[in-house]
Assembly symmetry: C2
Homo-oligomer: 139 residues x 2
Amino acid sequence: MTPTSGASAPRMTKQRAAVLDALSASDEFRSAQSWHDALRHEGSTVGLATVYRSLQALAEAGEVDAVVTDTGETLYRRCGAVDEHHHHLRCRVCGAAEDIEVPQFEEWAEKVAAEHGFARIDHTVEITGVCAACTAKGH
Amino acid sequence: MTPTSGASAPRMTKQRAAVLDALSASDEFRSAQSWHDALRHEGSTVGLATVYRSLQALAEAGEVDAVVTDTGETLYRRCGAVDEHHHHLRCRVCGAAEDIEVPQFEEWAEKVAAEHGFARIDHTVEITGVCAACTAKGH
DNA sequence: CGGCTAAATGAGAATCATTGTCAAACTCAG
DNA sequence: CTGAGTTTGACAATGATTCTCATTTAGCCG
Ligand SMILES: [Zn+2]
Ligand SMILES: [Zn+2]
Ligand SMILES: [Zn+2]
Ligand SMILES: [Zn+2]
């Protein structure tokens, strides 16, 4: 065992940096496969598995947000407010999204859950639609 | 083409009835596979594909509710308030759930979306946790 | 600056939930 | 009852995500 306690920070490999870069350059929610494509188009040779692993790690670390679509696909996005808990208004067509806060929702959820005897509460609040740009394009 | 207009109501086959029965006998959110298992254990010989098709049809018809878990699995449940729009407080361990209403949420969502130029709004609000029974069992 | 070792990568196989295929079985209007 | 269009079921095919494992590499030490 390593004498130093705690979990060491993940290594900063060039591929992880590339993933982070790509995410930082766009404000859209995209799937792992989509981010992988983007990286390849930029000349990177990252493997698909690595993109999946990086995104998962980043999501767990709270560096990026992840949402699951109604088709089961997981989409990732680097949000402006890193680490801050928030929700999203996302375009189903292009993935563009904005962070939003839902007034008093957290408190309300806690209360309702407690009233029903539920513990270890978690919640999902997402609003989707078609953004102005996509609507203009006829979507 | 059939002279009568519109889509005819889906046929009531014994397997679709069986699926509906199973759903009506439980208040838990379960996956298609899980419902299929349950039906088989009851002696039914329904095929897995049929269970999937039935659940989808029922969900589209608004007869049952469907939620997508964070692992991408779709869970189905026959809710007390059929056809009424509502949200859920669900146990991540056993699937037990209760219908809940979120005060003024729909109106709020519409407003926020409109302010951002989004059209064809939809939303997801789900609260999950571990129910009292499951907590007692040490989950 | 090398050397070293555990962590990270990539190519491809393997999973898993879900969907598609198509011949056979079935519902139900007439 | 009968015929025609539906629905079913066994199984193949998908598609997203995960796993395997040999190979590379980041980060640490001297
Ligand atoms: Zn966000
Ligand atoms: Zn858009
Ligand atoms: Zn419900
Ligand atoms: Zn429970």
